[in-house]
């Protein structure tokens, strides 16, 4: 029972709890706050996997960006209708059955698949190698990503424009 095992157990339990809270709370705003917690905890999982750079990206883009956008959207739409948005669940039993079936399928596949149990020694700081990979073998993908972001920006501006 090493420190790493204990840390993983705690982080996994918190991540699962906040994920369940995201899909079960009746209040949409609370749901977003739990999502922020789940995203930060995923970043901590990245830390456990020795990727501190991804942890920073996760905090900045996901927990910072996405949560801000969603909170904005909720407030904007609530102001448009003038009352609070509820969000009841429908068919929770059927949803739970399908989700459990998908989980069982994945785990059944995992049990059969041969996987390496031990990780290779940590490679140290991989951020420099990551940057070189982004402008080396993945340069075209990076450029395409830039095009996608511009397209998304234009699309969001088009949808959110005022009517006149």
């Amino acid at each position: 029972m090493t420190l790493e095992t204990v840390g993983f157990g705690v982080v996994a339990a918190l991540l699962l709890a906040s994920s369940l809270a995201v899909v079960l709370t009746p209040n949409l705003f609370h749901s977003v706050l739990y999502l922020a917690a789940a995203l930060v905890l995923t970043g901590v999982v990245f830390l456990l996997l020795e990727q501190p750079f991804l942890f920073a990206v996760q905090l900045l883009l996901y927990a910072g960006g996405v949560v801000t956008i969603v909170v904005f959207a909720i407030m904007l739409t609530e102001r448009l209708v003038g009352d609070r948005i509820g969000q009841a669940s429908r068919h929770p039993i059927n949803g739970a059955i399908v989700a459990a079936a998908v989980f069982a399928g994945i785990v059944g596949f995992l049990i059969q698949a041969p996987v390496r149990a031990t990780a290779p020694a940590p490679a140290g700081d991989t951020t420099a190698a990551l940057g070189r990979a982004l402008v080396g073998p993945f340069a075209v993908t990076l450029e395409l990503l830039g095009v996608l972001l511009v397209a998304a920006l234009l699309g969001a501006v088009y949808f959110a424009r005022s009517e006149e």
């Binding site: 999982v45 456990l48 996997l49 996405v66 904005f72 149990a117 920006l153 969001a156």
Partner: protein, 100 residues
């Protein structure tokens, strides 16, 4: 040392929870939050495989999926707001404009 299996099972659980959210939420924003959870689970898988195979490609893919997800959320919520202006609701059941 925690095995690869533990991370994969954790990711599968988060994915299943997100799927449950997508299937049961009535609100379009709630459905988007479920999709976020599912994409997040996939990122855990990618990083875990990258760590256990000693290959950086998985980490690069995660960087790409994170950026694409942010773009997806921005456009998705813009669509939700646009729908709201027309229909005055974001309940997925009542968005039946294309029903014949």
């Amino acid at each position: 040392m925690i095995g690869l299996q533990a991370y994969l099972v954790l990711a599968a659980l988060v994915f299943a929870i997100g799927l449950f959210g997508v299937l049961t939420r009535r609100n379009a924003v709630g459905i988007l939050l479920g999709i976020e959870l599912m994409l997040n689970a996939v990122n855990i898988n990618l990083v875990a495989f990258a760590r256990f195979n000693g290959d950086l490609a998985g980490v690069v893919f995660t960087l790409f999926t994170i950026s694409i997800t942010v773009a997806e959320v921005a456009v998705g919520l813009a669509i939700v707001i646009a729908i709201f202006r027309v229909r005055r609701t974001v309940e997925a059941d009542r968005l039946n404009l294309l029903r014949g």
